[in-house]
């Protein structure tokens, strides 16, 4: 039960991160923010408990709170009014090094009671290749500059040296500068709104409302999960990677690692234990703990949405975050030590973790939309080192089709793990970097089972202007069902490079990943994003019945 008073006050608080997010979305110069929507804005209480958060980028579900906490732990007893802390370190609650956390401590009557924070994607922050996406990386320094918590402002004074250091380590300093400005502006607005709300209702009433919403969220979670079967359910999957391995490293020494987990659901909560998961890999796929928590939370959140009476998930609050406990062995793939590379943690291993959790929950009678069927493809294109002007882009030409759910066929892109907007062909061509020759549905990738997933899409794009280098990775195998690495669904992406003389022919098929592959002007990339698979009860997932559900049609 929640009082009307608490509901009304909380609706004001919920509005604050939304407004912060709107500032980021509308003003960021980085397409990662303005089109890919890789950001999240939130409010926290004085104990760094999450009050409310936007889900523009669902992958920040836990990483924002985790990195805010890490910042406060780092500056224990040294957080002052007017300070602004920034950090991106994967091992301080984050995910990959491209995501910057901005913490904006706000003191009300001398006490830290309620404050805004956000995470947003930066274009570039050092590393071997532009954009922090390096499929050949085996240590974090190849991927970017690690920012442990730093005070960008001290008692309201900008620390020019810190800002200059950050900008000096970017190949795109103007864009990074603008993103930082947008982040600060959003936080300032958030702080202003917090002051206004607290001024209107008083801090004690506001905190009571937050607590009331916490209790209400707990009730909603309990109600949605009352049919879950207590017990212990195992799931595993194989994670592939193709990066070159340095000899003598602590990694597994092969391109395959195993993810093992046990889910223990109880009404209103569950525990996920990754005991048995392989050690961290000498590749860019390791999932820091903050990311692992997010990947566990996503299927849980979707299950709660699916099971709730109104189809809506509960509020993303501290109550929700803390209802999931994650145990991950230190030094493992899902909780690596700080020497691990993490650039592809979210959409590769993260998606596999979500899929594996979903499969395990399925055994407990919990229905979760099938995650691992919508496998992602990541691509960055950049100038050869030293070549000017520097061109760097990570365009979203398309996305895989969404998986079908128990309730409906999937449609559009795989929205549960992405909120991206595809580039406008005309805007892209106007910038003179690419020409897009085709973007169509791949109807024949659609399953014909009882529930068909969303169709995939085919994009043909041509390099214009100067030569570009391509970093690319996609997961063509390893569905989270105890699979054997094959792709029975026909839903994996495919990438073909066509040289000028190969147009109309097959071209050269790319195998899972590429590091700095040169693409000459006139060369074309044929990208096929797989469709979402048909839905089957995750408790009954096998390669066989998935294939039945998703047999291609013509």
């Amino acid at each position: 039960m929640i009082s009307v008073d608490a509901q009304i006050i909380f609706s004001r608080l919920r509005f604050i991160p939304q407004r912060m997010g709107a500032v980021l979305l509308n003003t960021a110069r980085s397409p990662f923010v303005s089109e890919d929507r890789l950001f999240a804005a939130a409010l926290f209480d004085g104990d760094q408990r999450l009050v409310s958060q936007t889900l523009d980028d669902p992958f920040q579900m836990a990483t924002l709170r985790e990195s805010v906490r890490a910042a406060f732990d780092y500056f224990l007893f040294d957080v002052q009014d007017g300070d602004v802390i920034v950090l991106n370190d994967s091992f301080f609650g984050g995910s990959d090094l491209t995501m910057l956390t901005v913490v904006f401590p706000l003191f009300i009557e001398g006490e830290l009671r309620l404050f805004p924070g956000l995470r947003l994607r930066l274009d570039d922050l050092a590393g071997e290749h532009p954009g922090g996406f390096h499929p050949g990386a085996f240590e974090p320094w190849q991927e970017g500059l690690r920012l442990t918590p730093l005070k960008l402002y001290r008692r309201g004074v900008l620390q020019e040296d810190i800002l200059r250091k950050i900008l000096a380590n970017s190949r795109t300093p103007e864009r990074v500068d603008w993103s930082v400005r947008a982040g600060l502006a959003a936080c300032r607005l958030g702080a202003e709104d917090v002051r206004k709300t607290v001024g209107e209702y008083g801090i004690e009433r506001v905190l009571r409302a937050i607590n009331a919403v916490g209790s209400w969220t707990k009730e909603r979670i309990a109600s949605s999960s009352e049919g879950w079967l207590p017990g212990s359910y195992r799931s595993s999957c194989t994670v592939h990677y193709g990066a070159p391995l340095p000899t003598g490293d602590a990694g597994t020494g092969s391109g395959v690692v195993r993810l093992e987990l046990t889910v223990g659901p109880q009404p209103g909560a569950f525990l996920v234990d990754f005991e048995g998961t392989d050690p961290q890999a000498p590749a860019f796929i390791n999932s820091p703990l903050g990311q692992t928590r997010t990947s566990v939370l996503l299927p849980f959140y979707c299950a709660l949405a699916a099971e709730s009476g109104d189809g809506q998930p509960p509020e993303l609050t501290e109550t929700l975050l803390s209802s999931v406990e994650v145990r991950a062995p230190r030094g493992s793939l899902v909780n690596p030590r700080p020497r691990a590379a993490t650039g592809w943690c979210a959409s590769h291993v993260g998606a596999q973790i979500s899929g594996a959790v979903a499969a395990a929950l399925g055994h407990a009678g919990v229905h979760v939309p099938f995650f691992a069927s919508t496998r992602d493809l990541r691509l960055t294109l950049f100038s050869r080192p030293g070549k000017l002007p520097l061109l760097f882009d990570s365009p979203t030409f398309g996305a895989p089709g969404a998986a079908a759910s128990r309730f409906h066929e999937g449609w559009g892109n795989g929205g549960v793990t992405s909120n991206r907007r595809f580039v406008s062909v005309e805007e892209t061509e106007r910038r003179g970097q690419y020409r897009i020759h085709e973007r169509t549905l791949l109807e024949d990738r659609r399953g014909k089972g009882t529930r068909r997933g969303g169709p995939g899409m085919r994009v043909v794009m041509e390099i214009l202007g100067q030569e570009r280098l391509m970093n690319l990775a996609f997961d063509a195998a390893g569905a989270a069902d105890g699979g054997n690495g094959e792709d029975p669904l026909g839903t994996a992406p495919s990438v073909v490079v066509q040289q000028r003389e190969q147009r109309g022919a097959d071209g050269d098929r790319v195998d899972h990943w590429r590091v700095a592959q040169p693409l000459a002007p006139g060369e074309r990339l044929v990208l096929e994003y797989g469709g979402g698979s048909g839905w089957v009860d995750s408790a009954e997932q096998t390669h066989g019945n998935q294939a039945d559900e998703t047999e291609p049609t013509t």
Partner: protein
């Protein structure tokens, strides 16, 4: 003495067709008549017949003296909402026929696994690609393959399409290919409705363009058929004047233009209310207004700044992107029929599900069993069960009580407390909607008056205004026929848009002026007003600008007093852009490069506003209009209080009603809350002033 002539505004809503008639003698009369859903023209003619009778005239004679009919219609809206448009085909550049379905990857609710896929107004088999390719700057990479185009057109015609949309890449810079295709279609099937993206929305971004152009094709034939039928029937009934149709941009245009650019008619109805509000705002000397229109199922909010309604190009209607400029009307599912319900955590919610008009709120006695906002308003004493809609509907209090008990028990509240909880939650939802359209746009609601429209708007406006620290509420005299009134008050207006991407630092003034002149000429041709009126045209020019690298642009009015834009004007506009950026997004960077993206021009022929009848101010004492008391619940007292009730039709200018009080009018109820005072002005509008501090 010259002959009296009439101007008639007609707004066809879901339930009622409203008409306002302004005579050249200064008279103003209005009627409400039931809408005939399948035959909107029928309802319009019925209304005209009634208004003619009010003038003691035969319909033919009345229409013979009617010079102008200005019409707001929901035909386009309903067609898109119900997906009942024409069978439509779409021709695109080869390889891009699915852009309409991709929607650039937009999904309204990423976690909603039950969200159905959007209905395809053009199924895939009717979307065909044509070999041709133009790129930036209008450079032709591949000439149009006319043979292939003919084949595709034949295929679509064979499939029986009634409308064809054509959207090719960069047609806003090189329209020739689209026009060639149009020629082929006209040659083969002149009866087919044509919608070319280079005409409907000649601006960059293919998804926005193809969606808008396709919706135009989908609703166009239906709109055309309706307007043709209405014009014919009016003519047969004796009308020889001009028929204008309200468009979403807040102006009226000829019926022919309205049919050709039917997508511009999607907000034809609500736009009238916003225009009416801006004009009444001038009347009450308040040019900064937030209008709130509370109907049965929805709550529309719009902002008027300096007398001008805000405009957006970011609309989604019925899950389709509409990028033509439209009045920025934000709608949420909160109306009198909104249902109160408890979620599985025990929290009370109101809406967006609505009892609609059938069965309607429980108190309508038509079988509705769930508690609604109207039921709460009734139980709190705000509505008189015997005087709802002027006594047309007798409300069933017992049914409302039974419905409210369904949530009162689980909430552990008394019936009155539960009703007040519903009242507070819906007020809060509506206040949040107002916050959304103001603070999200960098606008401070406290600098505005709240104009309450719709049947229940004036019941709920008081607490909302207090919540937002707004100190003035305006309830117009003609609020029940407000859209029709707005139609009468609207100017003849069209807007043009053209993409013109250029860094501001490299802007060539001659080219900018030449482009705006061309747009003006095109707009003037669309207005079709004749040479003699051209001198009265008023142009407003806008540029859409952004910092280089941003993806979203801001629209800034060009500050120029002459037809020619000077360097000084550009500098002033640039400064306005920086300031607007700061206002909207809390930061600006005057040292950063800025680029133009699109030019926009509005060309209007102002129409002389009617002289509204006024009455001299009289006594402050409202007691001659008193009609007893009733028990009303006020949050400030946390109990029912015996509250004076006034007959709104008997109040006269100068009367001052101190809160708490109720003013019953046949079309609406005004609740004057504690610490509020209502004044009737010389036009019959009610102005409610609020004391600052505290909440009621």
């Amino acid at each position: 003495m010259s002959e009296i002539t009439f101007t008639v505004g007609v707004d066809v809503g879901g339930t009622f067709t409203d008409l306002v008639c302004v005579g050249s003698d200064g008279s103003l009369r209005s009627v409400k008549t039931p809408t005939v859903a399948e035959q909107q023209a029928e309802g319009v003619l019925n209304g005209i017949e009634r208004i003619a009778r009010l003038h003691d005239m035969e319909t033919a004679s009345f229409l013979g003296k009617t010079r102008i009919i200005l019409h707001g219609t929901t035909v386009a809206t309903n067609t898109l909402l119900e997906y009942s448009g024409a069978k439509t085909g779409l021709l695109t550049t080869k390889g891009f026929r699915d852009e309409l379905e991709f929607r650039r990857g937009y999904k309204e609710s990423v976690f909603d696994v039950r969200l159905p896929r959007p209905y395809q107004i053009v199924p895939r088999e009717l979307r065909l690609g044509v070999p041709e390719r133009v790129t930036t700057g209008g450079e032709v990479l591949e000439a149009l393959d006319t043979a292939a185009a003919e084949e595709a057109i034949d295929r679509l015609l064979d499939a029986g399409v009634q409308a064809l949309a054509v959207c090719l890449f960069f047609s806003f810079e090189y329209p020739d290919h689209e026009q060639s295709i149009a020629e082929i279609i006209r040659g083969k099937a002149p009866e087919v409705f044509l919608s070319l993206s280079c005409e409907v929305l000649p601006q960059i971004r293919e998804y926005e363009r193809v969606s808008t152009t396709t919706v135009n094709a989908y609703v166009g034939p239906i709109m055309q058929r309706y307007l043709d039928s209405l014009a014919r029937r009016l003519q047969e009934s004796g009308f020889a004047g001009r028929l204008y149709v309200m468009h979403s941009g807040g102006g009226v245009q000829s019926a022919a233009q309205a049919a050709k650019f039917a997508v511009g008619g999607l907000l034809s109805g609500p736009a009238g209310a916003v225009i009416g509000a801006s004009r009444i705002g001038e009347q009450v000397d308040t040019t900064n207004l937030i209008t709130v229109d509370m109907g049965g199922t929805s709550y529309d909010v719009a902002v008027i700044r300096g007398g001008e309604p805000t405009v957006t190009t970011e609309s989604w209607i019925s899950r389709y992107r509409i990028a033509v400029p439209m009045l920025d009307i934000h709608t949420i599912g909160a109306g009198g029929g909104s249902i109160a319900w408890l979620d599985d955590g025990g929290a009370l919610h109101v809406g967006p599900r609505s009892a609609g008009s059938s069965p309607g709120p429980a108190c309508y006695g038509r079988g509705g069993a769930e508690p609604t906002v109207t039921d709460a308003d009734l139980l709190l004493g705000y509505i008189d069960p015997d005087y709802f809609l002027g006594g047309e509907i007798r409300l069933d209090v017992q049914a409302a009580e039974n419905a409210m008990d369904r949530i009162a028990g689980p909430l552990g509240l008394s019936r009155a407390e539960a009703a007040h909880a519903v009242f507070r939650i819906v007020n809060n939802n509506m206040a949040n909607a107002i916050q959304y359209v103001t603070t999200q746009r960098g606008i401070d609601p406290r600098e505005h008056a709240l104009m309450a429209l719709g049947g229940a708007g004036a019941i709920h406006a008081g607490p909302q205004a207090e919540d937002l620290e707004i100190t003035t509420i305006v309830v117009p005299r003609y609020s029940s026929v407000f859209s029709a009134l707005g139609d009468v008050l609207a100017d003849l207006k069209v807007s043009e848009v053209r993409t013109f991407i250029t860094p501001v630092e490299k802007l060539e003034l001659e080219e900018l002026n030449a482009r705006f002149e061309a747009m003006r000429a095109s707009a003037a041709a669309r207005l079709d007003i004749g040479k003699e009126a051209e001198g009265r045209l008023v142009a407003r020019r806008f540029v859409e600008m952004r910092y280089v690298g941003e993806v979203h642009e801001l629209t800034v009015r060009v500050r120029s007093r002459t037809r020619r834009i000077t360097e000084l004007n550009v500098a002033a506009t640039l400064k306005d852009f920086h300031d607007l950026h700061e206002q909207r997004f809390a930061h600006k960077a005057p040292d950063q490069p800025v680029e133009l993206l699109n030019l926009r021009l509005e060309l209007a022929l102002p129409r002389k506003p009617p002289d509204f009848p006024t009455r001299a101010f009289g006594n402050e004492d409202p007691s001659p209009a008193a009609r007893g008391t009733r028990r009303v619940y006020f949050g400030a007292y946390e109990e029912f209080r015996e509250t004076p009730v006034f007959d709104g039709t008997a109040l006269v200018p100068g009367n001052l009603v101190a809160g708490p009080a109720i003013i019953d009018r046949p079309d609406t109820t005004l609740v004057v809350y504690p610490r509020q005072e209502a004044l009737i002005d010389q036009y019959g509008n009610c102005i409610i002033e609020l004391q600052r501090n505290g909440r009621g």
